[in-house]
Amino acid sequence: MITEKPRIQFTPERLERAREILTHYPEGKQKSALLPLLHLIQEQEGWTSPEAMDYIADFLGIKPIEVYEVATFYTMYHLEPVGKHVIEYCRTGPCMIMGGEEVYAHLKKKIGADDGETSPDNLFTIKPVECLAACGWGPCFQIREKYYTHLTIEKVDEIIDELKK
């Protein structure tokens, strides 16, 4: 009998990384790896699909609902497919008073997508987020791991044009 392969699994390098992460915690506390592993699978798959969550549940030997509960609690896990670049812009007070609202309005217009949407060319997804701990360098947004700070309308144009290339 052939057992069906799960549709999603870690690439060999990520599998190694995942196994290393498991060693961070005492015996029997492997559920602690849940958040890092969800980041890892999302980095691989682009988003956190139900299949990806089921795979992680299986990997950690926990119930799928325990993964759903966690993945829906935190804001960084994309529960829907996203564009190539996810732009997470800070909408909180300190960035707002430094002109964030105008800059972000321009950003949305420029890429042709509103909050939570993906641009028609599937390149950009816009996600408003709360404070990114870069208040003195605002307005700011984040794309994957990179912070873009001191944003102005001109700077947004440059960044987006660069990413479109």
Partner: protein, 366 residues
């Protein structure tokens, strides 16, 4: 050790919580509990309905505690002095808690199967205000089924987590949980999975409101028209001790037995709950001693006082007109301030006002 609650001193074992000590004294001074559930480990501390004032921490350290404390999870100390029903701060706070729990809870009691045995209804009657101050849009969800026999009406949920603890502690594979966060949090299986477990039905009994209801009982009757009877059977899955709820000579519902605090004394299996609906399935023990009175069974809803309020809201719900960009249907499920009510309903036309009057008159006659 000794603890004094509302000037009544009682002797309790170490490890007893304030709430348990108060229950020992009696229902008159026991704080309300919307999330705490003694049979479920780790329950409590969330709804904040049972907050009390500790005016003296203990004999040794008689300083008062700075904040109100959740009585359900705070253990008594020897010589502790607690104020519950005699403390204005506690009562004011409780009023606030009712209001918080109600702002996103539909006032659909007239069509809710839980009415009459709803803890939120009782809580609101005891501690709530007649009017709401909430004018914003309410949180609503689609109804979903958790398997063939359980309906989840998330709009009514107050997120007490009891059903989650139940699934964790008395079933062997929890598939539902609390998803999302803040006021978007919801009880769900995420992927609309059915809860398939022999003891899943117990989530219905532990639910303090009408969020989880028994589909085999849905709209069958109002609970205050039914006759509860204790019965047992020889069940290979559970103890088989249940309460049968009769309408005439028909068993329309089976539940676990509950104590005076509304807590299940022995969880029952789904077969007993959903399938054994004939008198011949059971050995009848006798009428259930109803130790806990709901506001309805105690006839506390004076017709003049309450029904017109209810009727007004009900009548307003008939008009789906939208004024000032707000949905009247949404507004109807709250008690509008008189002035706002006139503003919103009067423009809907004479027939609307007439309809309300007729219902009010009907209510006044009752």
């Amino acid at each position: 050790m000794k603890v004094t609650i509302d000037n009544i001193t009682v002797e309790v074992e170490p490890g007893t919580t304030i709430l348990q000590a108060a229950r020992k004294i009696g229902p008159e001074i026991a704080p309300p509990a919307m999330c705490y559930y003694e049979p479920l480990k780790a329950s409590g501390g969330k709804c904040r309905a049972c907050l009390v004032k500790v005016t003296a921490g203990s004999e040794k350290d008689p300083r008062p505690m700075p904040k109100l404390v959740p009585s359900c999870i705070t253990q008594v100390q020897d010589g502790m002095v607690v104020e519950n029903t005699i403390n204005q701060q506690v009562l004011d706070t409780r009023k606030g808690i009712v209001e918080f729990l109600l702002i996103n809870h539909p006032l659909d009691c007239p069509i809710c199967d839980q009415a009459g045995e709803c803890h939120l209804q009782d809580f609101a009657f005891e501690h709530g205000m007649q009017q709401t101050r909430y004018e914003e849009e309410r949180r609503t969800f689609e109804k979903t089924d958790l398997g063939p026999n359980i309906q989840l009406h998330m709009t009514r949920c107050i997120l007490c987590y009891r059903c989650v603890f139940t699934a964790d502690q008395i079933t062997d594979g929890r598939v539902h949980g609390v998803l999302n966060r803040g006021d978007h949090a919801e009880i769900s299986t995420y992927l609309e999975k059915a809860i398939d477990n022999d003891f899943s039905g117990n989530v219905i009994d532990v639910c303090p409101v009408g969020a989880l209801t028994d589909k085999t009982y849905r709209f069958k009757n109002r609970v205050w028209f039914t006759k509860p009877v204790d019965a047992h059977c020889d069940c290979d899955k559970c103890k088989g001790d249940v309460t049968l709820w009769y309408r005439g000579d028909e068993v329309i519902r089976v539940t676990a037995r509950k104590n005076q605090w509304g807590e299940v004394t022995a969880f029952i299996c789904n077969k007993c709950r959903f399938e054994r609906k004939k008198t011949s399935d059971w050995v009848i023990e006798g009428p259930t001693k109803v130790a806990r009175h709901s506001v309805i069974s105690a006839n506390k809803y004076g017709a003049n006082k309450i029904v017109p309020e209810f009727a007004r809201r009900l009548a307003a719900s008939q008009y789906k007109d939208v004024k000032e960009g707000r949905n009247l249907e949404q507004l109807s499920i709250q008690q509008l301030p008189e002035e706002r009510f006139k503003q919103l309903v009067a423009p809907a036309g004479e027939s609307a006002v007439a309809g309300i009057r007729s219902i009010q008159n009907w209510a006044d006659d009752k």
